[in-house]
Amino acid sequence: MTEETGKTQGLLAQAWLILLLAGLFGSSLAAVEIVLGPKIRENKRNETFGQVPRLVPGGSARKSREVVLGGIRAIRVLSEEGKHLGWVLPASGQGFADKIELLVGLDRRAGKITGLYVLDQKETPGLGDYIKDEGRFRKYFRGQPAAEPLRVVKRKPRPGSGEIKAITGATISSTSVCRIVNDAVREFRAALEKRAAGEEKE
């Protein structure tokens, strides 16, 4: 009997502690959200926008804006003076191991690829994960024509020929990136043409 009332009293005594702690912690979390929230959102934005100057030469991370074109999210790259220089297109798809997320730089008419950046990948370390390496893989994308799909080859490709050299021992990762780029660029070019033809989309 005493244990029952003791238990109830104990629980009631606990309630005030939990409520006090909840209030204290809740307020500190709210404070953290207010103080750090903007910085975190800015970091997230910089993840993609920070790459703009490197993907489209002369592009400004500050001035460029995200747009939706025919249902496709893209970044309209502007220079510091506000001139439209090109596009940065986010793309993603299945790689060898898991999803690969990319950013493709395009010129104003989406006729040429100006750069490639790997946002996220989980390919094999030391093999497939060289797709994020500029010297070993990404440089082959610069200056390639966007009108035709790119192809992966094993020997050294001619610049601007639409050929990408595969990473030794990581053919599937290389072809996956190529496929993701091709699909995204093709869809984006189609959306651009539709807009140019005057059809209203969204």
């Binding site: 629980l11 005594a13 606990q14 939990i18 702690l21 912690f25 500190s28 953290v32 975190i40 370390p125």
Partner: protein, 207 residues
């Protein structure tokens, strides 16, 4: 043991090697395996865990007299979850690249047995000073544990340590070391080594 338990200094020293959380108590193994493929992630994780451990221990010690047995785990959990959220947001704001590398393992600090164990064993029973010393000792011990494994995995797996090239360029990276199997194998072997040293010292102490 009569009295108020081990002193602050005893708690501090215990946490570093004699009762090392990784090698002796086998607690917190999830981050130990997950983030030790490089020194930088390992140290960041150790830092985040240290922050949560210290804050949780201090708060628990401050309210230890108001805690009744029934709901103490609830209180520990609430405290730990709050500080982990703060640590996670802090990392996302000021070390975004590292936050991405550590990924889901920062919130997993909430269920890191080390922190709940320390709250239960020490902080809920002893004064703030002792709890703080205990937290510091365990944090250092945890950092030592993580660093030892990260050193092995990073050097063998990439030839670098803390991003600096250690092994000559001709070294063929042991890719397996930075992948999950490497984590298990390294921890298993190092644990065996630690056991062997401990047993050898005991024998030397006896003879």
């Amino acid at each position: 043991m009569a009295g108020s338990g081990p002193t602050a200094l005893e708690r501090f020293i215990n946490g570093i090697i004699p009762e090392n959380p990784v090698y002796r108590q086998l607690l917190g193994m999830c981050p130990t395996l997950a983030v030790t493929n490089g020194m930088k992630p390992a140290l960041t994780m150790a830092g985040a865990t240290a922050f949560v451990l210290i804050c949780a221990n201090v708060i628990t010690s401050l309210i230890r007299n108001a805690l009744k047995p029934h709901l103490r785990i609830l209180v520990f959990t609430l405290t730990i979850a709050t500080f982990v959220t703060i640590a996670d947001r802090f990392l996302q704001a000021f070390m975004p690249a590292m936050s991405k590398v550590l990924g889901p393992y920062v919130p997993l600090i909430i269920v890191n047995c080390i922190i709940i164990a320390r709250c239960e064993v020490c902080a809920s029973k002893q004064a703030v000073g002792t709890a703080l010393a205990d937290a510091l000792g365990c944090a250092i011990g945890f950092a030592l544990g993580l660093s030892s494994i990260a050193t092995v995995r990073e050097i063998l797996g990439t030839g670098c340590w803390m991003g600096m090239r250690i092994l000559p360029e001709g070294w063929d990276n042991w890719g397996i070391m930075v992948l999950p199997p490497g984590a298990f194998l390294t921890l298993g072997l190092l644990l065996g080594l630690a056991e062997w040293f401990g047993a050898a010292r005991k024998k030397a102490g006896r003879s």
